[in-house]
């Protein structure tokens, strides 16, 4: 009989725990979005948590697209308040937001990130143009006016000024935002330099210019950029593709390739001179400001001089901070929270 009672109690407790999920008011800011912005936003969130009386915001790294999808699902505390993105919101995403009642959104452009091609300091450094890079890594390249499977095996097959070594590059998988940006900003841009690219239709352009060869010359290394760094240090014939912050973290052991004559520097990336640079964003759901406590304060912490100034703590973790004038604009924006409009995104 005892056992009987004990079982009944446990079962009851279990069902109570399962059923008593209330639609709760949240007092923690919920942030989703890009894995590129994640290392910066987490630092801000932690500082914000220790500095103020608000609880530390919760951050999920869902990728830019996944974050915007969650963000645009609707108004209410079960949906996130802020989403980070390593690219701008697409018009289709804006429309999804609008149709789900997420009408008022404020956009913040918080700085830049560069994608670098790095190798061990003991390796031969690359000095390469985007066009050459596409010829080395694109899945199809033009030979005598025809697009064929990439025949180049050594870097020197692309151009005699490049090292006479097999092409071996490690990079992030297609699920990564870094890979998206690399395909778009490096490969497609290099592809467009080719005279043969002009005659491609829009669909052909997307399938040819933004795809990486799959014959083993480009090695997908998973989302773990530390792994790529370790591989590069051990193997001087290997090159790696990753974000600028990982280069900075390992500056004593890695060197970065020169792209289109530009060495990646924080200044060059901030000024958009380095060719493979992108802006980072976050989007705030205005309907939640005042409902979930601390959103306004979090935004002003993010856009403060202490965080994003020339000596700010975000600079220490590798964010390429915006120039002072842009930061002043951001601070104004954090005060007034203007609405994002469809025209701005077009």
């Amino acid at each position: 009989m005892k056992l009987n009672k004990a079982l009944a109690t446990v079962a009851l407790a279990g069902s109570v725990a399962a059923m008593s999920a209330p639609a709760m008011a949240r007092d923690t800011i919920s942030i989703v979005g890009s894995s590129t912005v994640y290392p910066f936003a987490t630092v801000v969130a932690e500082r914000f948590g220790t500095k103020t009386d608000f609880s530390t915001p919760k951050l999920e790294s869902t990728g830019s697209g996944g974050g915007l999808k969650l963000f645009c699902q609707g108004i209410g505390t079960q949906h996130p308040d802020i989403t980070n993105a390593s690219r701008r919101m697409k018009t289709s995403e804006f429309e999804l937001c609008q149709s789900n009642g997420v009408k008022d959104i404020t956009e913040f452009r918080i700085g830049s990130d560069g994608i670098v091609i790095a190798s061990s300091k003991n390796a031969e450094n690359l000095d390469i143009t985007l066009e050459q890079l596409f010829l080395a890594l694109g899945s199809k390249v033009p030979v005598d006016g025809k697009w064929v499977e990439n025949p180049n095996e050594n870097w020197s097959d692309v151009d005699s000024s490049l090292p006479n070594k097999p092409i071996r590059v490690m990079g992030p998988p297609p699920t990564s935002g870094t890979r998206d940006s690399f395909n778009e900003l490096a490969l497609a841009a290099g592809c467009d330099e080719l005279p043969e690219a002009a005659s491609l239709s829009k669909d052909e352009h997307a399938s040819i210019c933004e795809s990486v060869r799959e014959d083993g010359a480009f090695i997908e290394a998973g989302e773990n950029d530390n792994l790529i760094v370790q591989k590069l240090i051990g193997d001087t014939g290997m090159y790696g593709v990753f974000g600028y912050s990982f280069l900075e973290e390992n500056a004593d052991r890695l060197q970065a390739a020169t792209l289109n004559g530009m060495v990646p520097t924080a200044e060059g990336i901030a000024a958009d001179e380095y060719p493979v640079a992108r802006s980072l964003f976050f989007y705030v759901k205005k309907a939640h400001v005042g409902v979930v406590p601390g959103i306004q304060e979090y935004v002003s912490e993010f856009t403060s001089n202490a965080a994003m100034g020339q000596n700010g703590y975000l600079k220490d973790v590798g964010l390429i901070v915006p120039p002072r004038s842009a930061l002043m604009d951001l601070m104004d924006k954090a005060e007034s929270m203007p609405n994002l409009t469809l025209d701005e995104l077009k």
């Binding site: 079962a11 969130a45 530390t56 999920e60």
Partner: protein, 424 residues
């Protein structure tokens, strides 16, 4: 006669070959075990070799002048003043005094040796002990992560040392004088996650894991046992119960991420439960462990000898009395073992939690089932992907903690089986 002798001769001749065959067969078995043990040993040495330094912290102990004027503070009980006060300056000044030959001009380099959160620790200490103002105290603070990495890994190729030569010389000197020391990393066990490796801890993840496992246990054990008892003792044997049995066996083989998708669709989107909370995590893991528990519980019930049932029925016990008084107590050890192994599996699971938002940066230690939380394997995953190299050793240290949990759960299962098992 001659024919028979030759038969014996043949047997004797083949005997050697048969012994050889047998020896070879055994050698294969030993080889298989050796490979398995070798793999396990490699894994353990790699993790322990990389991770044991994660259990060490580097601290700076120094005499701090808590000068109110320097900090712009004359009443530590005043919240406003605390907010505006400067808690960095006393630390920098104290360290400048400790470093021989350092002057006011080196302050930037000196400051880079102190953990950015040391000033928060000083603030909290002053808030708790207002009477310390305008006194001088010997206090211990965390060092900067760059110092931590240098102290632990100077000369190790896997790490980048970010201190300059001047700072390295200072740190060497301070270490000799015992100002900079390494000791057991209690922060690792008492704090939540942080983006500063020196300050990062796994307490938040451990509590999150315990909350999630509690929900999983109190749901999956009673449901699983009840299902097993019904199917084994009461259900009629027909096509429909066969169909259910096949499906339970299939469910046990479904990849765990599918349960995550189900959890997202049902618990979060349909029932409107919050993301990233232990309750939803526990519910999803319940779905995952249920088949394991049902299958092992049924096996345990089956192994109770029919003579016991018949004896109970013979003296007039009802079906329910037979089950509750005789079968269930005897089958309990087997059920518990199966449940513990199912729970250990759930403890190491990350994939389904990814979809319900438990893969997140959460600093505060959760204090309830509806508080945002993460779990141990997720914490390992998050740290392994961080750009800061000092997180590598923390990730390995967290793996060791996770392994310790898993090994103790499995040991408990074995102990219970040995202890409670009855032989007939």
């Amino acid at each position: 006669m001659t024919d028979q002798r030759s038969q014996a001769e043949i047997v004797r001749q083949s005997l050697k070959r048969r012994y050889r065959k047998e020896r070879r067969f055994r050698a294969y078995g030993i080889l298989a075990i050796a490979i398995a043990l070798g793999a396990l040993l490699t894994l353990f040495t790699d993790i322990i070799g990389k991770g044991y330094t994660g259990f060490l912290k580097t601290t700076i102990t120094m005499e701090v002048q808590l000068d109110g004027e320097m900090m712009y503070l004359d009443d530590p009980k005043d919240e406003r003043q605390i907010k505006m006060a400067d808690f960095v300056e006393p630390l920098v000044q104290a360290l400048i005094k400790e470093v021989p030959g350092a002057t006011e001009e080196d302050r930037k380099q000196i400051r880079e040796l102190i953990n950015p959160y040391a000033s928060v620790a000083l603030r909290d200490a002053l808030k708790a002990n207002p009477e310390w103002l305008d006194t001088s105290r010997t206090m211990t603070f965390l060092s900067h992560t760059d110092v931590d990495v240098y102290v632990k890994h100077a000369g190790d190729d896997a790490y980048s040392i970010k201190l300059n030569d001047q700072q390295k010389a200072w740190v060497d000197e301070l270490q000799e004088r015992g100002v900079i020391e390494t000791s057991f990393n209690d922060v690792f066990f008492s704090g939540g996650d942080s983006r500063d490796p020196s300050k990062a801890g796994i307490l938040g993840a451990i509590v999150g894991s315990l909350l999630t496992m509690f929900v999983t246990l109190i749901l999956s054990f009673p449901i699983g046992v009840a299902a097993a008892i019904y199917l084994e003792e009461f259900a009629p044997q027909n096509k429909f119960t066969d169909f259910i049995e096949v499906n339970i066996n299939n469910l046990a083989a479904v990849p765990s991420i599918i349960f995550g998708l189900l959890g997202l669709a049902v618990f979060i989107n349909l029932f409107g439960m919050p993301r990233s909370v232990p309750v939803v995590g526990g519910l999803v893991l319940t779905l995952m462990t249920l088949p394991t528990i049902i299958i092992s519980s049924r096996a345990a019930i089956k192994s109770v000898p029919p003579s016991i049932r018949e004896a109970a029925e013979g003296i007039g016990a009802s079906k329910m009395q037979v089950v509750l008084h005789h079968v269930l107590p005897l089958a309990m050890p087997g059920m518990l073992t199966g449940s513990i192994i199912g729970m250990a599996q759930a403890l190491g699971e990350t994939a389904p939690l990814l979809l319900i938002g438990m893969v997140a940066f959460i600093v505060d230690v959760p204090d309830g089932f509806f508080d945002s939380a993460t779990v141990l394997p997720v914490q390992v995953f998050l740290w392994a992907g961080s750009p800061e190299l000092a997180f590598i050793e923390r990730a390995s240290a967290a793996i060791m903690v996770l392994l310790a949990f898993l090994i103790s759960m499995n040991a408990l299962a074995i102990w219970m089986r040995k202890r409670l098992e009855r032989r007939w």
